[in-house]
Symmetry: C2
Amino acid sequence: MKQLEEKQLTTKEYYKNSFLKVTEDDIQLPNDKQAKRVVVHHPGGVNLIALDEHQRLILVEQYRYPVKKATLETPAGKIEPGEATIVTAKRELEEETGYTCETLTMIGRFATSPGFCDEYIENFLATNLKKLDYEVAGDEDEFINLYHVTKEEALTLIEEGRICDFKTIYAIQYLIIHHQW
Amino acid sequence: MKQLEEKQLTTKEYYKNSFLKVTEDDIQLPNDKQAKRVVVHHPGGVNLIALDEHQRLILVEQYRYPVKKATLETPAGKIEPGEATIVTAKRELEEETGYTCETLTMIGRFATSPGFCDEYIENFLATNLKKLDYEVAGDEDEFINLYHVTKEEALTLIEEGRICDFKTIYAIQYLIIHHQW
């Protein structure tokens, strides 16, 4: 087995906003040669797998500027500094869907693109959903449409490319494997 | 249904290397207010789902500097400019695993993190694998270990956090759902 570790030598910051930072580091390879590594630093996020009372998956439609289209995705959100991920998960569910839940179970924590980014998403299964009888104030500049879809509708949305991101595909496959969806 | 589209007003580049670029754009929201959007521009990649002659999944162990650990992932690689993704897929399979295949089937194209990044990964199912009797020259500064794992071993590696990225989890779920793995 080859030794694989890469050691940081220097780091330089190129970009920073309220949640994201980009650095380029000089590193030492296992063969003692040097190389550069770009790292996109991200606080991480939560992903919510939530079935309503009719066993339909709750999805959020929103414009995703980087991919230049509106997509349907499982409700999700970035982790705030110092916040427990289960708190993020509950808040995002309530703000984005108008539902709350009795139980949130963390079912897996996965990196989105570990070759250049440190983002991990924690995936929560939300069960015993209840519709809120009041509106939770979200971000006023967040524009979303809500969908509740059956398994068959979800599979059609994948075919059509309207569901097109890994965390949502993961959620659908998880339900098929573990919840006889 | 709310109108969702965001329109680009300006763009400014903050970082660029051989494969990745970071810009921050001023955009116009559906309510005509303005906002900023960071975009990490990535050429996209391919992901290979390859079972060997004993129905074991081929995985690559490599150090992932952004997440500061060695991970086990499905073989993958970045798309070169102008290259057909099926060509990328075949080359990455041969270079990283020492196997070639008779058939490559594109089974889905998913964004890794559409909130800030335009990266899509095309997922290929590689079938009728054959071991190459010669070594394909890869990147000399690429340090990898190869694994062939059963479904049970894959599930244990997920539990242990050594398999920890969405494209590899997707591959395992895909095999369980579509190949009775």
